[in-house]
């Protein structure tokens, strides 16, 4: 229970960074932190008290393995995070090239 809360607090740190920081790189860092938190939450809900990793070895009977499904899903979600981050960094570098700054208060050609 408290551990879930700590995990969501990490998520909120990332969210705060995305919403309040005015620097492109900081926003990207916020997204990365929030992604970490969601991945962590997925593994947390799969954990089993005193569990073993879900890898069999020959000749040994293991009874209490943790849930392998969320681990597989988190692998996918890490890759998705990497893809998004790579795209964001490419965009950020191009924006720096065009505007000469990472500050989004100075990058405002479009009106909201």
């Amino acid at each position: 229970m408290i551990i879930y809360l700590l995990c969501l607090m990490l998520f909120c740190c990332g969210l705060y960074c995305i919403l309040r920081k005015r620097n492109i790189i900081k926003i990207i860092l916020g997204i990365i932190i929030a992604e970490y938190a969601v991945n962590l939450f997925f593994i947390l809900v799969a954990y089993r008290m005193g569990g073993r990793s879900p890898i069999l070895s020959s000749g040994v009977e293991i009874v209490n393995m943790v849930d392998p499904l969320p681990q597989a899903l988190v692998l996918t979600s890490i890759v998705i995070g990497l893809a998004t981050t790579a795209l964001l960094v490419a965009l950020a570098m191009r924006i720096y090239e065009k505007y000469g700054t990472f500050d989004i208060t100075k990058i405002k050609e479009l009106k909201g």
Binding site: S57, L75, M93
Partner: protein, 150 residues
């Protein structure tokens, strides 16, 4: 700054890189091939392979690294890996289902077991290794061009 990076880093770094880069590559291949019996798998192994090339590039500069694997080869490997994975999926239709594990499962805990899983791992590692190194190269070269202008 750009000139330094064309040449690479200092001698110590170069020597250590030369000694370790092969091992890193080998470790990546090991992780890929044993994905179905031990932790790891195509994705992690592919990233390690990409990191070995990144290491080479950081230490020796872009010319040496791009001589080992050219840009067109990277792009080819990437698309081929993706296509290979899709064709494994489509070959499942021979057994009647998309993504059917159509090869015999073999004996557990051996290297040659688990049907299509090792093949999928190899396809993914090709794709991931080439793709991530391509992203890295593109982003680094992008920086070089406009730093020269300044």
């Amino acid at each position: 700054m750009s000139k330094e990076h064309d040449k690479g880093m200092s001698l110590i770094v170069k020597v250590i890189t030369r000694l370790t880069v092969g091992l890193i590559l080998l470790f990546g291949i090991y992780i890929v091939l044993h994905g179905h019996v031990s932790p790891g798998g195509g994705f992690a192994g592919g990233v390690i392979i990409a990191l070995s090339f990144v290491n080479l590039m950081l230490a020796y500069g872009k010319d040496v690294a791009l001589k080992k694997i050219s840009k067109s080869a990277m792009s080819f490997f990437e698309s081929t890996g993706a296509l290979l994975f899709l064709s494994i999926a489509l070959l499942g239709f021979t057994g009647g289902y998309f993504f059917l594990n159509f090869i015999s499962k073999g004996e557990p805990f051996r290297l040659f077991s688990a049907g299509i899983i090792p093949l999928c791992n190899i396809a993914i590692s090709l794709k991931v290794g080439a793709g991530l190194f391509a992203i890295f190269v593109v982003l680094v070269l992008l920086k070089f061009e406009w730093e020269k202008k300044e």
